[in-house]
């Protein structure tokens, strides 16, 4: 069931949002759908985390937002990466890779 789906690791949500937004301007609902799709339904992003996250990233200056029409003609808030956001994303990715490598090493050693 949906409730059993894995909770996002604290702090990784920001990175995932930045990564998804990096593909091009996108609105909040689409971001949550995208994360869910790409992770093959592994990650479910609750709205209660998504929107405060988006607002926080915008406040830090990593995201910028613009109101535009969707394909269906509805107005929606589209997020895109700022230059600072792009930089942030790459550092977070490097950090993540290091972290996961380290974790993998430990797990392997423990076997």
């Amino acid at each position: 069931m949906e409730q059993e789906k894995t909770e996002l690791l604290k702090g990784t949500l920001d990175m995932l949002i930045l990564k998804v937004v990096a593909f091009g301007p996108i609105h909040g609902y689409a971001i949550s759908q995208r994360i869910q799709q790409i992770s093959r339904d592994f990650f479910q992003v609750p709205e209660g985390s998504l929107y405060p996250g988006l607002y926080r990233l915008e406040d830090r200056g990593w995201l910028q937002a613009k109101w535009e029409d969707t394909e269906t003609g509805r107005e929606a808030k589209f997020y895109s990466l700022t230059r600072a956001g792009r930089k942030r994303l790459s550092t977070e990715m490097v950090n993540w890779e290091r972290l996961s490598e380290a974790v993998a090493l430990i797990l392997r050693a423990a076997e």
Binding site: G28, Y29, S32, Y51, D59
Partner: protein, 885 residues
């Protein structure tokens, strides 16, 4: 700065947030419907997934800077409203803090300006002076800080530690402008002297490296003060030629007001070759050069001292003689230390005092805040229970203290502005360079602001944490008065009062000790009577009319005759030194006594009326007679210390003594033995605090060397006679200069009393303010406790307690607080006052009388402060008190 824009478009931001979330919801519903769900079910599922819409919105808002700013603004507004409602509290708190901040700012600005930024010179932190300390002489008076020209040149050539060094000496310069001759103080400095200090002239130029060399044009520079005083600040005199010491010199530069390097009226360049420009000295290679040097970067004072010490010891070995004591060492000091010296200690003591005052002010306000917090406990509990986090509550209380501190900071700066004017008026100018400007500047104001923030934390944090830590449930259900919370705060508040009393005791003890010390100092028995005594230092013109002792004697005889003839002059005499400030000393030889013992004595050259003028009593033999003076007989009167030190139980009369220094000087009798003809009582002859040293008084006519002082005992205020004395001196010779004159009493005040007086007044004011604050503190705590206990007291009285019992109970409680504070204060003071020892003379830092007096004052003050609340408690009407709840 998106958040700033959003701050002002709040409605739009809210609407957009709503639209965004709604869009999300609609998309989700659409997707559910698309996947085959019916619309109603889709809506329900979507809403369920969304959770609390309002909660999400709130989380979004909190993620934004502008909302945090807004929270802060709201806290600020809230604090303002709260303070405006409780105006009496706000006023007392602001006033208290302003006093603390103001006093601290005043002291800081004095210290900053005097100790850290006293002179506008380049790299003055690395500027040093050095002195040769005589290790064989007792006390710290032996040695010299002036050098011979060969010494100076050797140091300049051979050192490894100095970046640059300036040599200079001072000589009077005679300026003839056709109308008359005036005497200015001339500073002869090596040509690098001005570049060294790095202050540009306001007009013209510095000396160039060629100035001062033989053959180069004669030039000089002028001090701003002289320029204003003698030439009305006329810029046209630049480039003009002046006749100085009989030679034409061109004025090439005028220095700005804030420059007093080498303390002279005029500056002349010199290449330090003797005899140039008519500068002549009585002996070959006299030690007259004062050196100012700058250390190379990274060289320590000690390293510099040992390097220079080696040079001087080489010189001493190569030229043994009077110039070098048998054992000496070179000591380096920073220029700042040389100028400000011990006065720094006075300032630091005062800074410590002012911090105590600030702490008292903080605990006072902390106490008031606690009282307020107790009353507001229920309000805070309500705020906490509807969701305000602990951090929010603490922040809000801190904002309130900050508002207080900020207002107090502004008021404190105003206080500081006024207080600084008062302090500058009484600050002794002696130890402070003339260039020093004491005032409020940006650094000082920044400091005041930092102090305000610090104060916020000190006095706001404790109550804030205390309140936020409290048991909310208890506060909600309790009445907010009397039980539980009240007691809890009560203990902290009592602690604060005890601390306040202790701090104030420390301040008062310091002030008391300084007061005692000052009293001792001003009531010292000097051994002579300084009242109604006039002095005038006279320098006869330096020409052939006065080139023998006899010619000089004739001049002084005429002057003395005229001064004595003035009405209200009782007696007048000539001397060499100004009592009691000390003077020349010499090693002595006693005829027919072994040379092995090192004997030293001070020497004064006097007229026959000297002993009568100073009111010294004759103990044995006789004093100098008119014939002794007239015929310059080789006789001496010595003081009691002299007789005791060198003759013990022997009879000093008839013994013959020689002053070795006379053999070194050209114009003094060489190899001359003086017969002792009398012994007089001691007086303090080496400063107020030193015990009398051996001293010999010789007829002033034995030599023409040096200037003389006219001392006169008067029947009226000596200052009223100064003009007449000057007139009489000029009537004898208009070219004679009176270099210094006044009353001995004023001289004492200037030289000995000004500094302790300054310290005393400053610390006295701080201690007074501290005491007043503590009075308020005790009063407010006692009154508050009584208010809290109204109910309890009502019950007691209803059950039969007498008014007297209630009065006693409240007084007793106050007394207990005060006694604990006094005990702590006295114990701490006993440990701390030794740091005050440098400021005290004649009083022990643990003087029991002072401690007793302070304790008594405090008990009295404390009782007074508790009496009013106690009487109010005793006046409680049980009926009213019980119904009141």
């Amino acid at each position: 700065m998106g958040w700033l824009r959003r701050l002002f478009h709040k409605r739009l931001v809210e609407k957009r947030m709503d639209a965004e979330l709604r869009f999300h919801l609609e998309q989700r519903v659409r997707d559910y419907v698309a996947s085959g769900m019916n619309r109603e079910e889709a809506l329900r599922r979507a809403n369920l997934a969304f959770g609390g819409l309002e909660q999400i919105k709130q989380d979004c808002r909190e993620a934004r800077t502008e909302n945090r700013v807004e929270d802060f603004l709201r806290d600020f507004q809230y604090a303002m409203r709260g303070l405006a409602k409780d105006r009496r509290f706000a006023l007392i708190a602001v006033f208290t803090l302003a006093l603390g901040i103001g006093a601290t700012t005043v002291m800081f600005s004095v210290i900053y300006n005097v100790v850290f930024d006293p002179v506008p010179y380049r790299d003055f932190q690395r500027s040093i002076v050095f002195e040769m300390r005589d290790l064989t002489s007792t006390g710290d008076k032996g040695g010299r800080d002036h050098y011979t020209i060969p010494e100076f040149l050797a140091i300049r050539e051979q050192n490894h530690v100095l970046e640059d060094i300036v040599g200079n000496y001072q000589l009077d310069v005679l300026y003839a402008d056709g109308k008359g001759t005036r005497r200015f103080l001339g500073g002869y400095a090596t040509a690098n002297g001005f570049d060294f200090l790095g202050v540009p002239p306001i007009l013209g130029r510095f000396f160039s490296p060629d100035d001062g060399r033989p053959g180069s044009p004669l030039v000089f520079m002028m001090n701003y003060r002289l320029w204003q005083r003698e030439f009305n600040g006329d810029p046209k005199i630049l480039g003009e030629t002046f006749f100085l010491n009989g030679k034409p010199r061109t004025l090439v530069g005028i220095m700005p007001q804030r420059f007093n390097g080498y303390g002279s009226d005029l500056w002349l360049p010199t290449d330090l070759s003797l005899g140039a420009d008519g500068t002549s000295f009585p002996v070959k290679d006299p030690p007259v050069i004062w050196a100012l040097a700058r250390l190379k970067k990274g060289v320590s004072l000690q390293a510099a001292a040992s390097d220079l010490d080696a040079i001087m010891h080489r010189l001493a070995q190569a030229n043994p003689g009077e110039l070098y004591p048998q054992q000496f060492k070179l000591v380096t000091r920073t220029l700042l230390d040389f100028v400000v010296g011990d006065f720094k200690n006075t300032l630091y003591v005062l800074l410590a005092a002012v911090f105590l005052l600030l702490l008292i002010a903080c605990s006072n306000v902390g106490n008031l805040l606690l009282a307020r917090a107790t009353v507001r406990e229920r309000e805070i509990a309500v705020r906490a229970s509807i969701g305000a986090s602990r951090g929010r509550l603490i922040r809000q209380l801190l904002v309130e203290s900050f508002v207080l501190a900020a207002v107090a900071c502004v008021a404190g700066c105003l206080f500081a502005y006024v207080g600084l004017k008062g302090l500058v008026a009484i600050i002794p100018r002696g130890p402070i360079p003339e260039e020093t400007v004491i005032g409020l500047n940006s650094v000082v104001l920044l400091f005041a602001l930092a102090i305000a923030v610090l104060t916020t934390l000190i006095c706001g944090l404790a109550p804030a944490l205390h309140v936020a830590r409290g048991n909310l449930q208890l506060s909600m259900t309790g009445s907010g008065k009397g039980t539980g919370g009240g007691l809890r705060h009560g203990r902290l508040r009592s602690g604060l009062v005890i601390a306040e009393v202790a701090l104030s005791i420390m301040l008062l003890t310091g002030a008391g000790l300084m007061m005692r010390s000052f009293f001792t100092l001003t009531h010292l028995d000097l051994g002579f009577n300084p009242e109604h005594m006039l002095y005038a230092q006279v320098a006869p013109a330096a020409d052939e009319r006065y080139d023998t002792p006899v010619k000089k004697k004739l001049f002084f005889e005429q002057v003395l005759g005229r001064v004595k003839a003035l009405p209200s002059v009782l007696t007048a005499t000539v001397s060499l030194d100004l009592p009691p400030l000390g003077g020349a000393g010499s090693e002595i030889t006693v005829l027919d006594k072994p040379q092995s013992q090192h004997r030293e004595s001070m020497v004064d050259l006097c007229g026959e009326a000297y002993f009568q003028t100073l009111s010294l009593r004759l103990l044995r033999g006789g004093v100098l007679s008119e014939t002794d003076i007239d015929s310059a007989r080789h006789v001496a009167v010595v003081n009691q210390a002299f007789a005791r030190a060198y003759f013990g139980s022997e009879n000093p009369l008839g013994q013959k003594i020689k002053f070795n220094i006379f053999d070194e000087l050209p114009e003094t009798p060489h190899n001359a033995y003086f017969q002792i003809i009398g012994v007089v009582t001691d007086f303090r002859n080496r400063g107020l605090l030193e015990p009398p040293s051996p001293e010999a008084f010789l007829p002033y006519t034995i030599t023409g060397f040096g200037d003389r002082v006219i001392l006169a005992r008067t029947a009226v205020d000596p200052k009223s006679l100064l003009a007449s004395v000057q007139r009489e001196i000029w009537a004898v010779d208009s070219n004679a200069a009176v270099t210094r004159s006044g009353s001995i009493k004023d001289l004492l005040a200037e030289e000995a009393y000004v500094r302790p007086q300054f310290g005393l007044i400053a610390i006295g004011v701080f201690a007074g303010i501290g005491l007043a604050l503590v009075l308020i503190g005790i009063f407010s705590v006692m009154a508050y406790n009584v208010a809290l206990q109204t109910h309890e007291i009502g019950v007691r009285m209803a059950l039969g307690a007498q008014r007297g019992n209630v009065l006693k109970m409240v007084l007793w409680r106050g007394l207990r607080l005060i006694s604990m504070g006094i005990l702590m204060g006295v114990l701490t003071s006993l440990g701390l006052t030794r740091f005050l020892a440098s400021q005290l003379s004649g009083v022990s830092p643990t003087d029991p009388l002072t401690f007793c007096a302070v304790t008594t004052v405090f008990l009295a003050v404390g009782l007074l402060a508790s009496l009013l609340p106690a009487r109010r408690a005793a006046g409680i009407n049980p009926l009213v008190a019980l119904r009141y709840e």
